[in-house]
């Protein structure tokens, strides 16, 4: 049985301009100890789907109107707040993109790390403080005991992200959701954080869901990749297969639009025409149809379902991209 099973999850937002169809029925499994990457452009629903699972979407304006999310046999959607608090931070925890805004500027880092320990465990303040120092040491911040008394502004961007990771790991979660943890950081600091996360996963055996828009980062750290577009999953595959043999026109176009640092230039970049669809419009047909090179009549009327195209490899397209003929 998978550690986390999400089925047909649907989230929308009711705003004055209409209804934003953010997540339109996504299903996936997360196995124990696995690193799963969730890839897509801004507004494709990757963060909203994760926040929905943890019930961190304010309702209203948010509205999780369908689906299930089962964690270790327990249904998370519709669980009362008091029970959810036992899960969040202890079993499933999350790291956010902006280490500058996700930390509270008026509380010391030590206070923020010990908060979840004091909430979820029976530790005394002294024990929690010792554990926090060990955690900070574990994420590579030297002089941890003294640094616990510092405030977030006294840390650099990379160090703040390390503090966020220490906070997320405080209660040994089984699942860590990392929402673009390195996007705000420079490449050399990004490399440090990726290396740290890989070492931590090795040590703790937790499962990681890594949300990102960077297909380069994904290649180095994930075992399985889910590609999202306009609130739908369009492709899901083991990482080697996705890069060697992408089966959705969107994935193929994204990979073709990326220049590579290790290769000299051969030709112009292949750009994807147009822009992602307006989520205020009720989705009809395939969401990528308007930008797709291989579009056929059927794409406008019916949205293709995810179907198996290989071992553990699923794609949602009416066309077989290898042969160019409809399925």
């Amino acid at each position: 049985m998978p550690l986390l099973r999400v089925q047909d999850l649907r989230t929308r937002f009711h705003i004055p301009e209409g209804t934003v169809h953010a997540v339109n029925g996504i299903s996936f499994d997360l196995q124990e100890c696995e690193t799963l990457a969730l890839v897509g452009e801004s507004g494709c629903g990757k963060s909203v789907s994760m926040l929905s699972i943890l019930q961190l979407i304010p309702q209203p304006p948010g509205d999780i109107y369908g689906g299930t999310a089962t964690y270790a046999g327990l249904e998370l959607l519709g669980l009362p707040e008091s029970d959810l608090e036992q899960i969040r931070g202890a079993e499933i925890s999350m790291i956010f993109q902006e280490p500058m805004t996700a930390l509270n500027p008026v509380l010391t880092v030590g206070r923020q790390i010990t908060e979840s320990l004091l909430t979820h465990t029976a530790m005394s303040r002294r024990e929690a403080r010792d554990r926090a120092a060990a955690l900070l040491e574990g994420v590579g911040i030297p002089d941890a005991v003294r640094r616990l008394r510092c405030y977030p502004h006294e840390f650099s961007g990379g160090q703040r992200q390390r503090v966020m990771i220490a906070m997320a790991l405080a209660c040994d979660p089984k699942v860590l959701i990392a929402d673009e943890p390195t996007t705000a950081l420079d490449v050399t600091i990004q490399a440090q954080i990726i290396e740290l996360m890989a070492a931590l996963r090795e040590r703790t055996g937790m499962a990681i869901i890594w949300i990102t828009h960077d297909l380069g980062v994904v290649a180095g750290l994930a075992q399985r990749v889910i590609v999202m577009y306009a609130g739908f999953i369009v492709e899901e595959a083991p990482v080697e297969d996705l890069y060697a043999d992408p089966r959705h026109p969107y994935t193929r176009a994204l990979l073709a639009a990326l220049p590579r640092v290790d290769r000299t230039r051969r030709e112009r970049l292949k750009s994807i025409p147009g822009a992602p669809p307006n989520l205020l419009v009720e989705p009809q047909g395939c969401p990528f149809a308007r930008r797709c090179e291989l579009v056929v009549e059927r794409c406008w009327a019916e949205n293709p379902v995810l179907t198996a195209v290989g071992p553990n490899h699923r794609a949602a397209c009416w066309i077989d991209v290898i042969t160019g003929v409809p399925r």
Binding site: V187, A219, Y243, V261, D262
Partner: protein, 326 residues
Amino acid sequence: MNDSSPIVEVQGLVKHFPITQGIVFRHVVGAVRAVDGISFTIARGETLGLVGESGCGKTTAGRTLLGLYPATAGTVRIAGVAVHEAHGAELLAMRRKAQMIFQDPFGSLNPRWTISSIVGEPLRVHHLCQTEQERVGRVKELLGLVGLSARLVNRFPHEFSGGQRQRIGIARALASNPEFIVCDEPISALDVSIQAQVVNLLEDLQARFNLTYLFIAHDLSMVRHICSRVAVMYLGRLVEMAEKDELYDNPLHPYTRALLSAVPVPDPLVERQRQRVVLQGDVPNPAHPPAGCYFSPRCAEAKAECRTAAPPWRNAGGGHMVACHQ
């Protein structure tokens, strides 16, 4: 397409921002050395990439170059005009030839102005159109050049997506028929699928109008794609500069090597085999840079002399410039 005479010549450019203390008796207590003596030239029609991490001074360098900040020391000549000494008509003429595309497509367009006013402003400032009708015609032509419909002239910036706004910024930069454009991270705020569109547009415009670009970026993959030469900056100084393939295939400075090895490659098989040089620690504070080579505290190969003397900017052969004692 490059002719030999450089269009931009930068010699020993320095830009320090004073750090002040006190309210009544304000006095300078130090300086942030944002740009600390950089020299390079850009040939007509080429694209020079300026890369480095945030806070290394690349944006300040671009802005000082155009005279948007007064320089602390050093000279910049654009198309023969000394930027920081020019006044009046000479300065205005220089500004017509040298334009800028900004990083943030949301902050760089006035939200209360229509697209027509935004793109038409350089035309008004430089008196390039005699009549209002001519100006609107030229604005429509410019929008067409960057792939936007001429029907959009009376819309406001909030009605456009990030990629479209960046196109508007490009149209504004093109309005005065410039020869040289500083592109300050023009694509880093855009999604991957839109980045390729904007990069291709910049290349098409360059070929069509023989433009010269200074392309400031932190995305080293894109820089390798678009630039002909690349300069690497660290803490206000240039550490290395070479033809792009020479720099990427044969980096001489330890910082360049670390930077390149940190860039992820979208290929799991390559990623698995790569040897990463992971730098320790963070970039030092530019108000208190370390002695000697600025990179020495983080450099795995640093020797005693690196911590005392700044390395000279030397030619390592074939125009491959590097500042390293090794």
